[in-house]
Amino acid sequence: MAGKTLYDKVWDAHVVRQEADGTCLLYIDRHLVHEVTSPQAFEGLKIAQRQPWRTASMVAVPDHNIPTKDLDQGITDPVSRLQVETLHDNCREFGVVEFNIGDPRQGIVHVMGPEQGATLPGMTVVCGDSHTSTHGAFGALAHGIGTSEVEHVMATQCLIQKKMKNMRVNVNGKVGKGVTAKDIVLAIIGEIGTAGGTGYAIEFAGEAIRDLSMEGRMTVCNMAIEGGARAGMIAVDDTTIEYVKGRPYAPKTEQWAAAVEAWRELHSDAEAVFDLEVNLDAASIQPQVTWGTSPEMVLAVDGLIPDPTKEADTVKANSIRAALKYMGLEANTPINQVQVDKVFIGSCTNSRIEDLRAAAEVAKGRKLASNIKLAMVVPGSGLVKQQAEQEGLDKIFLEAGFEWREPGCSMCLAMNADRLEPGERCASTSNRNFEGRQGQGGRTHLVSPAMAAAAAVTGHFVDVRQF
């Protein structure tokens, strides 16, 4: 008998019923909720006079709209404030646990969930946010859903779904010094393309993935969606179990042994067959920088910006031309000659303690380059912030000239006051370099935390391995 993939195992354990055409009702263990994609869902429940099926499965946190400074003044934008207050009112009305502003556990939903142990191996996890793929780092099946599905999960504890196909991305061997989880995942997206994972659940495997900490694994799974896959997953091992142990939502002492025994099965069987396998050589991955307006438009730091006249495919050549124009770049320029205006270290991709340590190591004893208008560090949660301050990272950043902010999504998508002005160029540790993502007319280059810090202190993209 053919073996099962990790995805097959978690999927099979959650099928409530299956229709003749393959459509399934899939049971959802954990529902993470934030302020942007939930108000219409709660409203839908109220209109239909429905109650949440299992309130205990829900954990809510405001993150997208939260200001990252002067929090004592509250949220000054009345539209943002109403959305955050609406989440709070809904949580109170329906009895949903919420980590509100001022609670040290408040932070980006995809940082807070794992930190609290609300994400456990083998779970199905959903959230009205595409970066829910992050939680797949725990051997969970986790993906983003739209607001109608948020309401559906609230009301029924299930999703209506068809099974996806299985893809495995093997990152074989070890990465070199200075090459991080962010570089690995950007290199993967460069290889498979931004739609390469459409219709698949991707399992990330291989020595370079197993060598990553949970923080690094979350960074990789976080960006599965930028490769088109709703879900990214990584097999459970000792690293996973050690991370989960003792967290507030982790299994209690008397359940722990049974849980660990079950979690040990959360890996693809040796005989498992994948619909598609992709192999990357870890040693050949260099620090990455995106140059364009899609995450697949990515280069090694010593690379040249592409030339549309060398692209045979018309649609692709047009995409390159449009991206060059928007980004204000010339074809064939070395990416390490491109100067930046702002630096953003944060987001659900790269705002965990390990990310801040990596950036601080580069920033330590250095100063922002004179052309940098603003460099900001936004920890992923209040607890990450506390930890960083205990380690003195805040002082390193402040001495180098960075701003040390309060937790939230911040300039990853610029729903709060943190944003780029038209034409400004940013080295960002976030996940999307789409047009206007960090502010209308803003130009985003995605990099690792260490590469972002290096750009901050030199004023342009530079190979962090030279530091």
Partner: protein
């Protein structure tokens, strides 16, 4: 949800690959707690020459005459013709609501991002994927013939061109059923409540830590 049975309408061509949901509806409009009113800010950054904010009177903003949605020949369009990987990026259903509110009933493209594709059916917007060569042909026809219209027959799963050519497309049986009847799938799922309860009872025994 509005039913989708047979629809005929003007086609507007958006000749770009990887159109993301940030482009379809920029983030500042996601602060709304409503499902409606997103039509005037559909493709906001491309459609207007000046930045937009929630609460503005969008009819008074300077329009980008070079953006295809603003071409007089595509006024009143209800079918969007697009390129590969339409709707990539964020899970915001606001992207679907914006298209719907503008008056788009169907999007035809060679491929869609998964979450957008899924969200579309929930708000009565029909995403149709056709072979890339067929889509390329449609782009040429739309651009060559002002007022170009297509007819979409969901029950027959066909896109019908003005010359009567019938282009078949695939759609899941369940999604088709819900769209044809304008059904809310929560009500349908709740008909299976006993199955969900039985699953939970079994699961509580095998993995009790999931119910803490």
């Amino acid at each position: 949800m509005e039913k989708f049975t047979v629809h005929q309408g003007v086609v507007v061509p958006l000749d770009r690959a990887n159109v993301d949901t940030d482009a379809i509806i920029p983030k500042q409009y996601l602060k709304s707690i409503k499902r409606t009113g997103f039509g005037p800010t559909l493709f906001d950054d491309w459609r207007y020459n000046e930045p937009g904010e929630p609460g503005m009177d969008h009819s008074k903003r300077a329009v980008n005459q070079d953006f295809v949605l603003n071409f007089p020949r595509y006024a009143g369009a209800s079918i969007l013709l697009a390129r590969e990987n339409f709707g990539c990026g964020s899970s915001r259903e606001h992207a679907v609501w914006a298209l719907d509110d503008y008056g788009i009933r169907a999007v035809i493209a060679p491929s869609f991002a998964d979450i957008f594709f899924n969200n579309s059916f929930k708000s009565g917007l029909l995403p149709i994927y056709l072979d890339a060569a067929i889509v390329e042909g449609l782009f040429k026809e739309v651009e060559a013939r002002p007022g170009y219209q297509l007819t979409i027959d969901l029950a027959a799963q066909q896109v019908i061109t003005p010359s009567g050519e019938k282009l078949s497309f695939e759609v899941d049986e369940f999604r088709k059923f819900c769209l044809l009847n304008g059904l809310d799938d929560i009500g349908l799922t709740l008909q299976h409540a006993p199955d969900i309860q039985a699953y939970e009872a079994k699961r509580q025994l095998s993995a009790p830590w999931l119910f803490n």
